[in-house]
């Protein structure tokens, strides 16, 4: 598949989960394809990084479900902040463990999972849809019933994959990419390189094969596709580019220039050329 093929399977108003964490191993080529599309009114579920910032800045996201949004080396995501401060998006903010529980519940086809996280904090007041549940056992403990977060689509990025949808991460952390896939009706995976199934164990042990083809509906080969987020061991974060991106939140003129240079392009290949031409 191409990035455009993935976008063609998405619809206005969908709830889309995005894998990775902060500014780490994000399926950015798929995010950029959404930015080029006519899609609108999206709900984005993410351990947020520049995926959330870009979708907020471009007006694609109407609602964001998150535990945090950060660029890691730049702690606060400036485009997300602006969208929040200007009241342009609806925010559903959870504890980051609750977010995991919501995805896990959806992936297990359960209506909710109980957790202590959230009790006593303003997570409950800013999310009036959350309910408590009492343990039916002798302890009678009252817990938060974290509702399943069901996704229409999940987007993740892996280091390697085969054409049938077996994915491999070669970095230090899977994050919650398997749960994003589990929670979604349609699952799309980009990867740095598509290899033969028989080559998957060449670069990592079997422990790295945590995404299998039953969890995936489409594979996109996207070299440097996580740019400018990190994708170790293939590449680190492009800090200079990230700084440039972050600086554009301060000035509408700079943001327009950034959009023209990097986002309003015909395809991902043009983006990669623009990045190389810097």
């Amino acid at each position: 598949m191409s990035e455009a093929d993935v976008v063609a399977r998405l619809r206005d108003g969908m709830t889309i989960g995005i894998g990775g964490w902060g500014s780490r191993r994000k399926p950015m080529s798929l995010v950029r394809a959404i930015l080029r599309s006519q899609l609108r009114d999206l709900t984005i579920v993410s351990y947020g990084g520049p995926d959330v910032g870009l979708l907020c800045a471009s007006g694609k996201a109407r609602r964001v479900v998150y535990g945090f949004v950060s660029l890691d080396s730049i702690p606060l995501e400036p485009h997300f902040r602006r969208a929040r401060e200007e009241g342009r998006i609806e925010a559903v903010e959870y504890d980051e463990g609750m977010l995991q529980w919501g995805l896990y519940a959806a992936s297990l086809r359960l209506p909710f999972l109980p957790t202590r996280a959230g009790l006593g904090s303003d997570v409950l007041t800013i999310n009036p849809h959350l309910s408590l549940v009492r343990s039916p056992y002798a302890d009678g403990e009252e817990l938060v019933a974290m509702p399943a977060i069901e996704l229409d689509a999940a987007l993740i990025h892996m280091n390697r994959a085969d054409a049938r949808g077996n994915g491999q991460y070669l970095g230090p952390d899977l994050y919650f990419d398997d749960l994003f896939c589990g929670a979604a009706r349609e699952r799309f995976m980009s990867c740095e390189r598509i290899v033969e199934s028989g080559e998957l164990l060449r670069e990592g042990t079997f422990h790295t094969l945590r995404i299998n083809r039953s969890m995936i509906d489409g594979v996109v080969e996207a070299p440097n596709g996580a740019h400018f987020t990190e994708c170790p061991p293939d590449y680190g974060r492009d800090e200079a580019f990230q700084r440039e991106y972050a600086a554009t939140a301060r000035d509408p003129g700079q943001w327009e220039t950034f959009k023209k240079t990097y986002l309003e392009l015909p395809d991902e290949a043009a983006y990669q050329r623009a990045v190389r031409a810097r």
Binding site: R81, Q100, A117, G120, L143, P172
Partner: protein
């Protein structure tokens, strides 16, 4: 050894918050918390579990910043999923930052102003709600002032003692706000009303200065002790091993 800097005093005060933690995962957020946790590990708490800040548990204790002299020795793997499991199991002590903190230890890192339309959006809740209900939590404030130590936080991310008390005994049984360490002093909640108490002032800081810099009435004992100074061994470890480039002082703006 020449006299300790404020950053070195803070590093020791932070290390002291981990005293007695034993074989516990320590998650220090920020530069001086990382230095302090590593100092505790190299001195009086050798069993602490520390990560490289990513996903590896380290058997070695590398310096903060600069190139380590030798490659770090990995003793385990702790991706985020395992961190969450450890957190819920309670075998963890986190030291987080606090954009605002109130007298009961309620902490805010989510936003300033009303949540619906914040004046300033910050990080988001992160793990604070779950951390505070599941295991000991401490806070580090490098810029003690009345805008940080406030009467009432705008949004409660980390749960303080007043809210925990209202939850009932079962829900609050793992709740502990251990200490708040700032650039001016050390604070705890060892009072009958569980409100914040000035436990010690750093050398060179007066009680009046702390009171002036705090936006609510602190509990203050008649004789407030001075935060203990680093031992010669601690100073040597800090200067030659953990923070040779002075990253700690930079976090204090110096």
């Amino acid at each position: 050894m020449t006299g300790a800097t404020r950053a070195e005093i803070c590093a020791v005060a932070i290390a002291e918050t981990f005293r007695g933690d034993g074989e516990t995962l320590v998650s220090p957020i920020g530069t001086l918390p990382s230095i302090g946790a590593r100092l505790a590990r190299l001195t009086f708490e050798p069993d602490l579990l520390l990560t490289d800040g990513v996903a590896m548990l380290l058997a070695s204790v590398p310096p903060l910043g600069g190139e380590p002299h030798e490659p770090p020795v990995v003793e385990g793997w702790l991706p985020y999923r395992s961190v969450f499991d450890t957190l819920w199991a309670g075998r963890r002590h986190v030291m987080m930052g606090a954009t605002q903190v109130d007298r009961f230890g309620n902490q805010n890192i989510a936003c300033i102003g009303p949540f619906a339309r914040p004046k300033a959006q910050l990080l988001g809740m992160r793990g604070a709600p779950g951390n505070t209900l599941n295991h000991p939590t401490s806070y580090w404030v490098p810029n003690h002032g009345p805008r940080v130590f406030v009467e009432k936080v705008d949004v409660v991310s980390g749960v303080g003692y007043d809210r925990a008390a209202r939850l009932g005994e079962r829900a609050r049984r793992f709740h502990e706000i251990r200490r708040v360490v700032s650039n001016l002093g050390v604070f705890d909640f060892a009072t009958s009303s569980r409100t914040m108490r000035l436990a010690s002032v750093h050398p060179g800081v007066s009680v009046a200065q702390v009171v002036e810099s705090t936006g609510f009435a602190l509990e203050i004992a008649r004789d407030v002790p001075e935060t203990r100074s680093p031992t010669d061994l601690e100073l040597e470890i800090l200067r030659t091993r953990l923070d040779p480039l002075g990253a700690g002082q930079k976090e204090l703006g110096g």
